[in-house]
Symmetry: C3
Subunit: 149 residues, 3 copies
Amino acid sequence: MPTYVCWARDGQLSADQKQRIAQGVTLIHSECTGAPPALVQCIFEGIDATSHYIGGQPAPDSVWVYGHIRDGRDLEVREQLLLRIAELLVDVAHIDSSLTWVYLNPLANTNMVEFGQTLPVPGSELQWIEQMPTGLRERLLELNANTKR
Amino acid sequence: MPTYVCWARDGQLSADQKQRIAQGVTLIHSECTGAPPALVQCIFEGIDATSHYIGGQPAPDSVWVYGHIRDGRDLEVREQLLLRIAELLVDVAHIDSSLTWVYLNPLANTNMVEFGQTLPVPGSELQWIEQMPTGLRERLLELNANTKR
Amino acid sequence: MPTYVCWARDGQLSADQKQRIAQGVTLIHSECTGAPPALVQCIFEGIDATSHYIGGQPAPDSVWVYGHIRDGRDLEVREQLLLRIAELLVDVAHIDSSLTWVYLNPLANTNMVEFGQTLPVPGSELQWIEQMPTGLRERLLELNANTKR
C-alpha cells in the first residue's frame, strides 16, 4: 500500500542493486506492517552530478528513500521500517550508514487509490484483495507468494 | 492550488496524452473542489525500465498520480478526486484500471506559496486572485476562462 | 534536517545557479529554524518541455521548491521560509515572483533518518551531532562552519 521513491546519483545503483533494494524494501515493509508484499511500489530516481547538495556543498554518493505509507502505524513499526531500510542501503549500495537518508510520509487510507481501488484501513488488506476482480486478485496473490524471503 | 506529479514509464505517455491528462486533472480538481483551474500545476516524471517495481518485481506500465493539495477537503471530495483521476488515466493512457495509482497529500494553506503568494484558505481563491498585481491577475483569469470543459 | 526538492525546466538553471539556490535554501532554513546548515539536503529535478502544465496549459519557466521539513515549526517560521525561498528564486533564477512556487510538507522527527540516525526533536540538533561517531561528527561540524553567510 505504499510507494517508496529512492533517490541516488545517476549510475550509482546498477539494475541489479535497484531490484535488490526494491525486493528488500518490499519484504521489510511487509514484515514490519503486516501488509501484503504485492502492494508495495518502488520507484528509482537518478540525480545528476550538479543536482545534489548537503549543507550547501556537493553531496557525496548518498541514497535517500522516501516512503509514502498509510497513516496509523505505531512508532515502533515506523522506527523498524526506517532503520531496516537504512541497513538495507548499506548492505546493497555498499555505502556507509552515514550516507543513508530515509523519510516516511503517512497518508490517510482515504487518500490513496491503488490498482484502481481506494485502500482499506491497515489490517484489512487480505479481505480487500479477496473482493477484487478475478484476474487482478490472482495477480496480487501470485506476487505475494513469490516474495523472496 | 495543488501540484499533481504524474509518474509513468519513459515513453509510455505521448506529449498529447500528457496534455490531456493535465487538462483532465485540472478540470477534475476544479470541479471537485471549486478552486479555479488556473491554479492547478501538473508535472510528468519518466521512470526508466530498470527503476519501477511492484511487489518486488518489475512493474507493468502503470501510472501513479500524486497530488499535493490544500488540507481541509471533505472525504467525499477527496474520493471523487481519486476515482475521477483514476478513470481519466484509463481513458487517456489506455491502461486497465488495475494499473492506476492515485495518492493525495493534504498540506495546510499556510505551507504553500504559489505565484509568489501564500495561499488563502479553500473558498477564498477568487478574492485572492482579485488582490493580485494586474498582469498576474489577468493571466490567471485568462487561464480560468480557457479551461476546456 | 530537511530535504528540499527543486523542480525546474531542463536547462533552466545552470550548475552555478543550482549551487547558489542550494546554498541559499540551506542558509535560509538554518536562520529561520535554528537547525544546523550541515543537515539541509537539496535535490534538483529537471522537467522536459512536454511535462509541465499550469491551468492545463504548457507552463512558463517557473520553479517549484518542495521542502520536507520536521513538524513543529511555528507559523511565522514557516511563512519566513516560504517567502525567503521565493525571493531567493527571483534573485538567482531571474524569474518574476509570480513564477515561484514553494510548498512545505512537515514530517514528524520520528519519521526521518538522516546520516543513518533517527532525528531528534527540533532544538536538540547540536547534542544529536555531538553523540555521533567521530568522523561523521567532524564532517558535519565542518559543513556547519563552512556555510556561506
